[in-house]
Amino acid sequence: MWYALLVLLYAPLAVVVVYSFNSVNSSADFVGVSLRWYRALFADDTILAAAWNSAVLALVSSMLATAIGTALGYGMYAHRARRLGWLIWLIYLPIIMPDIVYGIAQLSFFSRLAAATQIFDLGLGTMIIAHVSFQAPFVALLVYSRLVGLDPRLFDACSDLYANAWQRARFFILPTLQPAIVAGFFLALTLSIDDFVISYFTSGPESVTLPIFIWSAIKRGISPEINAIATLMIGTVLAAAAITLAFQYVRHRQSGE
């Protein structure tokens, strides 16, 4: 039963990976192992530009989203018992909103802004803003749930042990949140690499990313090159997840003895 589910989940991924190493241009016959599609990939300037755009978008948006989301998560925690506490529920809105609705909203927002100010032309800049706006809530929730799981007396203990507000942030809050912040960064990274819908609506002619490139290429039929790109993306996402886990494991061991 569980194995059937696993097959269902992973078989399509396995097919993509296997056929990316196929030596002939066929999605039916697997003739021999070769790296020719990967070579083709790295010789194609359009693909390389798309990969570069994807990487810049993912890294910049994830870093911004981590910083903003951490501040947001702490703010939610600090205000949870106050009069404006209900506002924290707004954070869920971008998470539950269907991507297509969110993407269209962003598109119309940025179009109007561009018309009014002349500086928000659709492109990598608007994509980064759009990505940050859906990544930051996830980071904020990770940080927030770490904070509510803490004994509130720990904050008192800092003050009791002579820490001022800055020292408390530097020597207690940040180190305590570190696993959540790292996890949030890599989650934001995977979310960004994953995203097609919102990217599609907020991208400009110069800012084609890998998912957008694949989507337009696929209209001309699935090529083994697409399999190779997909395989590399699977690898990247797995690596991000592995780094997150490894980082937490090392941290765990370091503070051991």
């Binding site: 007396r153 008192d156 009791d160 042990l161 002579y162």
Partner: protein
């Protein structure tokens, strides 16, 4: 017949200059969390320097709130607080030379034991060598020097308690605040740590403000005890004063006294209460308290009873508990019941239903108001 408590601990609202031997002076402290949650309802208290001072009271009476105000973690709605000669009512917690052992210990999970103990020194800006040296010395003093490299989640409850204590003591505060530090521990460990905590306080001569809801613990450990009830101080005094001369029925009941009776009538030769008459001269009061230890129990026809004079209560054994070193009887007399203890000298126990006589020393009888 209530006695004023020791002059060093009785609040004197008129006197506004803190005495040199007063570590903490509280005047009119008031703290409310919303209209119907009054945590502190006007607390006046002088805590003598170098004493083991206990705040005793039932859960929710305001003990933690009082400690938090002293630590500076909460600002009182009204009232003043001096630590030594300094008015610290509006001074931030991190600028007060006071440290707390929290009820939950509140140890930092991202630091090891040494990092936890050295945290306060690090915030104070001491250099690494000084921090290491003082952490090492304090850890040795508390006997946890073998744990310095451990992570917090590798420690037992008793070890955490010691780390929390070391983390506070290493800063050599003017006052150490301890919020029910032993209540999470099992009975054996608890009584060992009680003695150890007392020994540490004696050796350092530091002022300890200790919170507990356990009257036995308060009695064993304290120089002075303040009994709190609903945000107010009911009585301050030595354990002996509180036990032998409780100021009111609340304190009497909280100290574990069972034989507390309303006085119905009083005249020159004695008073009348639920179990009958008690001869002697008594002050005007609402209640009379008879501690089990001031009574002896005899068979109704025993010779001691005949020669005992006036103050004999006749009754019947209703319940008996064998406690090893002593026997505890509940005796029905008049319209009520009294609890009396009898040392176990091998004399055997009275049967349930047996007629008995209780002979008492009236000098030990206490009358109280309220």
């Amino acid at each position: 017949m209530t006695q004023p408590s020791s002059p060093t601990v009785s609040p004197d609202t008129a006197d506004n200059t803190p005495r040199a031997d007063t570590a903490i002076r509280l005047r009119g402290l008031y703290q409310a969390f919303g209209a119907d949650a009054v945590a502190l309802a006007g607390v006046d208290l002088d805590i003598p320097a170098g004493s083991f001072f206990t705040l005793l009271g039932p859960s929710g009476c305001g003990k933690t709130s009082l400690l938090r105000v002293i630590a500076g973690l909460d600002t009182p709605d009204a009232g003043t607080l001096h630590i030594g000669a300094r008015d610290v009512t509006r001074v931030a917690a991190h600028k007060r030379n006071v440290n707390t052992v929290f009820q939950s210990y509140a140890l930092f999970g991202h630091l090891d034991v040494a990092g936890n103990i050295g945290f306060g020194l690090r915030m104070h800006g001491h250099d690494r060598a000084t921090i290491n040296d003082r952490v090492q010395k304090t850890a040795a003093f508390i006997q946890i020097d073998n744990l310095l490299g451990r992570r917090i989640d590798q420690l037992s409850g008793g070890q955490r308690q010691r780390v929390a204590l070391a983390r506070a003591l290493v800063n050599e505060p003017d006052v150490l605040l301890l919020d029910e530090p032993l209540s999470a521990l099992d009975a054996g460990l608890r009584s060992r740590l009680q003695l150890e905590l007392l020994r540490i306080q004696r050796r350092l001569g530091m002022t300890f403000v200790f919170v507990t809801h356990d009257q036995d613990e308060a009695m064993v450990m304290s120089d002075y005890v303040a009994v709190l009830n609903e945000g107010r101080i009911e009585q301050v005094g030595t354990p002996a004063t509180l036990y032998e001369r409780p100021a009111n029925p609340f304190v009497a009941r909280f100290m574990g006294h069972a034989n507390l009776f309303a006085i119905r009538a009083r005249d020159a030769t004695g008073l009348t209460t639920d179990f009958g008459r008690l001869a002697g001269e008594f002050a005007r009061a609402d209640h009379v308290l008879i501690r089990p230890e001031i009574m002896t129990i005899h068979a109704a026809d025993a010779p001691e009873v005949a020669s005992a004079g006036d103050n004999v209560i006749h009754g019947r054994v209703r319940e008996r508990l064998y406690r090893g070193s002593r026997m505890e009887y509940t005796v029905a007399a008049g319209e009520t019941e009294l609890v009396v203890v009898d040392d176990n000298r091998g004399q055997g126990m009275f049967e349930i239903g047996a007629g008995v006589a209780l002979v008492m020393e009236t000098t030990g009888v206490v009358t109280l108001d309220g």
